[in-house]
Symmetry: C2
Subunit: 579 residues, 2 copies
């Protein structure tokens, strides 16, 4: 074996082996030449599964989907040049939504950088401020010292990705030709004398000082807000519900808090605030004395108004990931504490024998129930976008996972998807709310979910059609509910809709695609439905179908905006009357 | 009119108007909300044409294609978040290939940055080192001073993009709600008292000192190498041919130098070096005494070996864009001088009355002609990938423009596309050589070309299928020659091919797509051909067809690699015999 090949094999092999030792099980690989030794050694490693995806943009969102669903870091590998630049959207989404990813990029060696060599870009700090850690590796060497070093970088990278706030990390490997490793080298995955160095991560606990800062008594009228959480933590869910119960506080639960479904107790869960907060009187009538907020900012704009309306009351923002989640500018105190530990601290701080009277909570529950009945009227409309979100809890099987697209789907789910005892996991890309990469995120999630659904609009589906290749190549099971209103439905709800001169060309943007051809391209089962009964039949059938199914629902943007407006007006008037 | 709306309208309006005054005629717009005022004012401006493209990745490559074809800067507009990250691949390609682009991104205002606001990422320096200039604009104001400032930034941005080295520029606009400008404002495009400040760009001329550095006499055995040029400069083409003529030097012309076609004199143009330099004896037998190189590094690897073999002779690299184009590490002198001016200087420096004897040149011409005849054997093979490149000059109409895909198509063209008097413009994305964005680049070029063709492989076509939407939406005319060898053909030529265990899964990567469905999705005419006569008939028919036509040619990766190997071996043996 030539010394170059030994250096290459053992240095890269050590990295790959350490990936496995650090807990990486899946690597999404996009083909390329410069990345050859890494790809081949990954494919050789007994504990790593490689998944090949040609389009690096989709590949990165696919990895994001796996990581979201499992809350375990997933690695990505691509070659040099624009391949690596294609990761950027998913990397940025992962950074803001706090999803553990490890991007591994191959690069030309130093002497070929910035001298006009082919397929060579400056990959140092390629993703700028949107990764937690970047390392530009040295040229492979197989000395004990360098094998130790590459293993350190690897495990440290994986642990950095999975230490809070979770997020992406980027490792860049300059590699010289020839690029073929020696797969017969018995020492290719050898650690020498080095033991794997695991990382133990402490838990950020509340302190006495923190507790004292809250004052002696918790007011009666408290509100808990739970926004999108980066992953489903059952301990946290249990504890937050105990806090709500003991304190008599309602929990305003964003759909991506995943508190609206499953076997949790749900008496305190409020899931129609997006509707009733549209009424200013209600926002004022339900003035809180304290707000405790967890997770990212919820999707509901009326909830944002509620928080802004009551900037005069204490608003605590609890974030174990140590961000500054306060777009409303209404926070009165930032609390960097593990969310579950925070709940435990609160529960320990109060007298358990005395339960509070629940007048305050009952007002919320009553409002929630009344509004829910109002919102049920949507189920009369035949096959509207809102009705689909409203009926998901009926239509989906237990243990379903739903990836919810951005723009209108997540808003419809926020408004219409209500509490259910079924276990339905909701996922969304709410770090940057892009319409890109949604298909691939759903397919990534499908790897570890029982039955995955995707609720998505036509523009977003078009944007990541390439993602469907993974379904075809790997026989993945996914049911796509494609809401085709031929364009950007959200703009019909925005002020832009009042300016007809450029509306359709700049905002409505109908694309007039017959998606049936796209489904044939990727070997999907396809059904176009125009009535509710056809839709529910198709959904029933999809439960037992294997592989990729696309149910295309044709709706009308204008009509849909009109229905939404009508339902919201009815709610607002009804609750005015109630108050 | 509210003061906010006036500020918004006049600040953004001034920017838009200045874009037009600075020469921007086309803006590729991807829909979004935050970018609303910019999009609406662009659509209102009488001298700007907006082209809407949903997928920002394709949109940016589409703009790149327009800019490549016209060598005029093109602007891009998108909303905040991942939308802007999707521009990254095309921005990086533009940076390395030196294409003038202006990326305009909308952003949240400062107070909503890094506080968990929706769709908000850190867009300051978003593209890192891959833009020539970045400006984070202030919040819109309509004072005389600020309208003057925004106009200055705008024209400076456009001029920066089109000063050598051409390249991308990024302007980021933080904008507060409400987002609707007042299109009725008569002063929306007003410049106040400010006059447009044009930029005059000087020409980097050769100096006496430079001329002296070359020594007194030019040796007999000189070689001119002309690599990919960022744009077609007819003056340069004329002058370089005069230099070759007067000095008796051959010009080794990369296909993207565009010296192989058109009405230029071509006696000195050598276009088969990629074949004959595979023979080491030939490389040594044609040892030069001096090399003068223009443009980026040619695609041919054998040419790289030739330059490396002769590091002992003076090798001048002339670059008016002031890079360091020397991946071979063989340059003996870097010359920062306008390429045309350099040629003029050389022509002025020699005695015009005495023409050199042309023994040296004749050896090259003879070799070129003999090898060309050898390469003609490929035309016997029925419908091979090489034959398609070889016969392009026959099949294409005059004034055709061909976007050539990366990986194998550009290599086939390099080997087999020979001199022709037809005017055939060749384009390629050789900044980073990605397989991404190629379809969109071709479609962008088609806006200003008579008849545009795209020669592309199946993986690359798949990668940018989304790009086809522009063809459908705008009725663009493009003929795609889709070489479908079901996977990554280039790897069959590389050492990876000798390692069968992971070859098909990691490198061959067959994707088994029936592209006919993709063509139906985007309303293309489609023909699948399996014989040469079907192919040439389809090409003939495409000449007069309007809109998008896809001619899919089914080939076999292994067989194709075998043909290439056979032809190259024949050439190498033949020339060994000749020498």
């Amino acid at each position: 074996m030539l010394s170059h090949q030994r250096d290459l094999t053992r240095f890269i092999g050590a990295f790959v082996d350490e990936l496995a030792k650090s807990g990486i099980r899946k690597v999404v690989v996009s083909p390329g030449s410069r990345s050859t030794p890494i790809a081949m050694l990954l494919a050789e490693h007994p504990h790593i599964k490689t998944i090949v995806h040609i389009d690096e943009r989709s590949a990165a969102f696919f990895a994001l989907g796996i990581a979201k669903s499992t809350n375990e870091p997933v690695a990505l590998l691509c070659t040099s040049g624009t391949a690596a630049a294609n990761y950027y959207p998913a990397i940025a989404e992962a950074y803001y939504y706090r999803v553990p990813l490890l991007a591994i990029t191959a690069d030309r060696p130093h002497e070929l950088r910035d001298v006009g060599a082919p397929q060579t870009m400056d990959q140092v700090d390629l993703y700028g401020k949107h990764v937690k850690w970047f390392v530009d590796m040295p040229i492979p060497e197989s000395s004990e010292k360098m094998v130790r070093y590459v293993r350190e970088v690897c495990s440290r990278a994986v642990y950095t990705a999975k230490a809070r706030p979770f997020g992406p990390v980027h490792i860049n490997f300059p590699i010289r030709e020839p690029l073929i490793p020696d797969l017969e080298d018995p020492q290719k995955f050898s650690a020498g004398s080095r033991k794997h160095v695991p990382l133990s991560i402490g838990r950020k606990m509340g302190t006495d000082e923190m507790l004292q800062s809250f004052g002696k008594d918790w007011p009666e009228k408290g509100v808990i807000v739970c926004g999108p959480m980066e992953y489903i933590d059952e301990n946290f869910q249990r504890e937050i519900i105990q806090v709500a119960k003991k304190f008599g506080y309602p929990i305003l639960a964003d759909p991506l808090s995943n508190l609206r479904s499953g076997s949790l107790e749900k008496e305190e869960i409020i899931d129609t605030y997006d509707s009733f907060f549209r009424n200013e009187n209600v926002r004022h009538g339900l003035k809180p004395e304290i707000v405790i907020r967890f997770g990212a900012m919820p999707v509901s704009k009326p909830l944002l108004f509620y928080l802004q309306d009551h900037q005069d009351v204490p608003q605590y923002v609890v974030d174990g990931g140590m961000g500054w989640r306060d777009p409303a500018g209404s926070a009165s105190q930032m609390i960097y504490c593990d969310e579950t530990a925070f709940c435990e601290m609160l529960l320990n701080s109060i007298d358990h024998s005395s339960m509070r009277p629940k007048h305050w909570l009952k007002r919320w529950v009553k409002m929630n129930n009344r509004v829910k009945k109002q919102l049920d009227v949507i189920s009369i409309d035949d096959l509207s976008e809102g009705k689909i979100a409203h009926q998901l809890t009926e239509l989906l099987p237990d243990q379903a996972c739903v990836m919810v697209g951005n723009s209108m789907p997540i808003r419809d789910v926020d408004t219409y998807f209500h509490r259910t005892d079924k276990s339905i996991k909701l996922l969304g890309n709410r770090g940057l709310n892009g319409i890109d990469g949604i298909v691939s995120t759903a397919l990534g999630a499908s790897l570890s979910e029982e039955h995955t659904y995707l609720l998505i609009g036509d523009l977003s589906f078009y944007h990541d059609l390439n993602g469907l290749l993974a379904a075809k190549q790997y026989g993945l099971k996914l049911t796509v509910i494609l809401i085709n209103n031929n364009g950007g439905g959200i703009f019909s709800m925005l002020p832009q809709a009042k300016h007809p001169s450029h509306f359709e060309s700049l905002f409505g943007t109908p694309i007039n695609l017959s998606f049936e051809y796209a489904t044939r391209l990727y070997g999907a089962k396809y059904e176009k439905v125009e009535t509710w009964s056809d839709f529910s039949n198709a959904m029933e059938k999809a439960k037992t179908d294997e592989g990729l199914t696309v149910i295309e629902v044709i709706t009308d943007r204008r009509k849909n905006a009109e229905i939404r407006r009508r339902v919201m007006e009815a709610v607002v008037q009804e609750i005015d009357y109630l108050e």
